[in-house]
């Protein structure tokens, strides 16, 4: 089908004047989108622009305050997602909603089980799934347990799950966020096949290169409203980004090198077994016995003024590495901070001696959501000035210092007594960055420092990291955002199955090649 014939067809989805008011979040305001059938329609916008809210409205998870939704020309009103499924709209969530201990087949039919005499009709389900998988080129093994699948496979299961329920319009919410470049290409191949079968795909993303590679049409959302509808042939990634942000675009590039030859952090032969830590055990022996190792002989050095980036698919030992350095999980090997062996120290002592920590999941490890901002400022600094006054917490000094962070790091908040949960993700993150930069740290662990924050906050956080680096801070940067890794790091290491498999030069690497190392597709040759 050519684009001309499509233009005359009734739109698959038509949103008109969608408005949704919300406290605390960017609401949707007068959204207008027309999605033609049999196309991949991308919706782009920075984090917090209102994409997710819009998709929740389209999938019946939330009701719009104003506006109309038309599907295949008919006006609809959804109260629950099942209403949306009824008219053929399916959603593949950013975070997979699969039961790990069930097989692929069981996951796909879960909630829509074909029954024969009150029993699951496995034969029928298997036939249906194989049929769907073959006609759309989505290869899966229906009998495998989901817990044994990789991320890409899980995503295909999610897509099949939606197709199994008869969806003709698929919403994919940031489907590439968890994939490495090779898997992204595979996903796109799948999407093209779905399109050729006449299905409609609504693709939400903020990764512009990918959007330009797959979309037939692009709608840009900024601050909750649709600002432009463009043809991917007519725009460059940069123009698109400027539409998204509405101004000049920040880049994560570091300028001149500030690396010195003073070693701040030295990690030596760090090894961690998967099945508990025994203090006296010999790492070499563990390896010989063929035990699973979460960290396997990891060694590196970080110098003053250096940012060392660790690239890797999530779950390859990054979290374990961080927790070993922080003293949260025991490991074999040596950790030296400024020439001192700290491997026997408590977390508190490590923090006191100048380690800052921006955790990967700020809600889990970084914040007390139901406590005030100033109490969150005290967290991790409870034994140091200004938070400490003998056995007491110095409330006045803590408040004052929180005010300093709020101003210096541009944390948008009504005051320092506000509860942390009332702040948006970007502002929470800025508070954490401000806190961890306080007390003159020597070494900072920054795990996904800009995950889930808007472009403005992202640029600010990058600036703060660069400034601190120039002032002599050593930084261990762990990120899933390859542009961020390549742009900020002075040195790159790739971690794969708990091992450092490559040392790379960030000035001389593409995201694609980096992805190859991360998946183990390119064997570990030391390049740097």
């Amino acid at each position: 089908m050519s684009a001309d014939t499509l233009a005359t067809a009734r739109p698959a989805v038509e949103l008109e004047g969608i408005t949704k008011r919300f406290p605390g979040v960017v609401a949707n305001h007068d959204i207008r989108i027309t999605v033609r059938p049999g196309t991949v329609h991308a919706i782009v916008g920075e984090n917090g622009a209102g994409k997710s809210t819009l998709m929740k409205i389209l999938y019946g998870m939330q009701k719009p305050d104003e506006g109309t939704i038309r599907v295949n020309g008919e006006e609809v009103s959804f109260r629950t997602p099942s209403d949306a499924i009824e008219v053929g709209i399916g959603m593949v969530h950013q975070h997979f909603m699969l039961a790990d201990n069930l097989t692929v087949l069981e996951n796909i039919v879960l909630g829509a089980e074909p029954k024969k005499f009150a029993r699951l009709d496995t034969a029928f389900a298997r036939r249906r799934i194989t049929e769907l998988a073959e006609s759309h080129g989505l290869r899966v093994d229906p009998d495998k347990l989901v817990e044994d699948l990789g991320v890409g496979d899980r995503q295909r299961v999610e897509i099949l799950k939606v197709l199994y329920r008869g969806a003709r319009i698929l919403i994919l919410d940031e489907p590439t966020a968890v994939l490495v470049p090779q898997e992204v290409e595979e996903l796109f191949q799948n999407l093209r096949e779905l399109k050729s079968e006449g299905l409609t795909v609504i693709f939400i993303s903020h990764k512009l290169d990918e959007v330009l590679g797959i979309a037939d049409e692009i709608t840009v959302i900024r601050r909750g409203t649709t600002v432009a509808s463009v043809d991917p042939g007519d725009v460059t990634a940069r123009q698109l980004a400027e539409l998204m942000v509405g101004s000049e675009l920040p880049t994560p590039e570091t300028r001149e090198s500030t690396v010195t030859d003073v070693v701040t952090l030295k990690i030596g032969n760090l090894t961690m077994g998967a099945d508990g830590h025994r203090p006296g055990a010999d790492p070499a022996k563990l390896r010989e016995e063929g035990r699973r190792l979460l960290l396997d002989d990891v060694s590196f050095e970080i110098h003053q003024g250096e940012i060392l980036g660790i690239a890797g698919v999530e779950g390859n030992g990054q979290s374990e590495l961080i927790e070993a350095i922080m003293g949260i999980r025991p490991a074999h090997g040596t950790i030296e901070l400024a020439g001192q062996d700290i491997s026997g120290w408590s977390t508190l002592r490590r923090r006191e001696s100048g380690i800052g920590y921006i955790p990967e999941d700020r809600h889990r490890q970084g914040l007390l959501l139901e406590a005030s901002l100033w109490e969150n400022r005290v967290l991790g600094h409870q034994t140091r000035k200004p938070a400490r006054r003998g056995i007491w917490v110095n409330r006045r000094a803590s408040r004052a210092d929180t005010q300093r962070i709020v101003e210096a790091y541009d944390v948008r908040t009504p005051g320092v007594d506000t509860l942390a949960l009332a702040l948006s993700g970007g502002n929470q993150q800025k508070l954490i960055v401000g806190r961890e930069m306080s007390g003159e740290p020597k070494f900072l662990i920054a795990a996904h420092p800009t995950r889930g924050v808007d472009v403005g906050a992202q640029a600010a956080i990058w600036d703060h990291l660069r400034d601190a680096r120039a002032a002599g801070l050593a930084v261990l940067l762990i990120s899933a955002d390859l542009d961020e890794l390549i742009g900020l790091s002075d040195t790159l290491r790739v971690i794969y199955r708990g091992r450092i498999v490559a040392a790379l030069d960030p000035t001389d690497i593409t995201p694609e090649r980096l992805g190859g190392y991360m998946t183990g597709a390119i064997a570990g040759t030391e390049e740097s």
């Binding site: 406290p23 605390g24 007390l368 967290l379 409330r395 908040t413 506000t418 509860l419 640029a459 600036d463």
Partner: protein, 380 residues
Amino acid sequence: MPAGLNRALLTVVGAVVAIVLAIAISSVAIIAAGADPVAALTAFFDFGASERSVSNNIAAFLNRSVPLFISGLAVAVGFRMNLFNIGVEGQYRLAAIVAAYVGSTFTAPAPIQIAVIVVVAAAVGGLYALIPAVMKVTRGVNEVIATIMLNYIAINLTSFLVRGPFAGERAEGQLTTTTPKLGESAMFPNINFIFDWFGQPPPTRGGGVWGFLLLAVVLGVVVWAVLERTRFGFGVKASGLNGPAALASGVDPRKMIIAAMVMSGAIAGLIGLPEILGDRGAFNSNFTAGLGFLGIAVALLGRNKPVGIAFAALLFAFLDRAQGALQIAEVPASVVTIIQGVIVLLVVVANEVTNRLALRLEERRAAQQLGSNTPVEVAA
């Protein structure tokens, strides 16, 4: 700080609604029992006809609230960091008998003797709570199960001690066994003088209003200061709100568990003292039981905050006091237990509701003040 005031106001409203609802629901139970709910309600406020009996009833009400308050504090210290010390019951009984016995073995000037008894009680309670704490830290034994089991041991151990090694002389015709009587210097002076201020006759029963009330108030202030103002209290709060974050911030969860549990147990150790030092002068085999379990309800009702616990203890004592008056009004006295149970259930629900409401309001307020739709300028 209007945000905090808002939250406090919501809490109070929630508690009042819960209590009113509880009375309504209990009325149904009273009618079902064939009694008159209005008669029951009036019975709660019936403090007797003569001035003397009013004084006596007020004293009984205040005296009942003191151990309930201390018990609530003990439970709350654990609750604040999601540590469920169900063992307060055993801790206070064991502490009470040991303290009563040790106190009876010597005489010293009153302040010293009382101080020694208090310290012994706190030490015994704290040490007994140390057992489940150590089990949890080293072997991961759930503290709920450990403390429940230790309750049985403590309760049976006390009944053995009061009959055997710690038994004093039994008076002629007495069926209860008791520890040796404390000397006069060990008795905590009463505070009946407050009745003079209001021109009322002093109470004559149960040793008057126990002076331990003042010590309980001091204890409440100290617990409040420790939990709300010290670094230790901050660690407790952080561990309770978000364990992984506390761990990553250098709060050692093992130390916190041991410290909080021992503190909880030490406070629990004091629960029996008001009665021993204020009235009985000994621990006997029909010593008031169940205070530890009531403390759980009191702590829940008071939302683990000393001020809230004080109000909850007063409310429970107020209801408990009416047992006699209810029987005179021909209402089954177990109505009191029903009302207490219903209040606790409803307050737990109300807490959850007001908590969510407060958080929602806070979010909305923050969003409003910031103007949620103001564009975020981008630093280039």
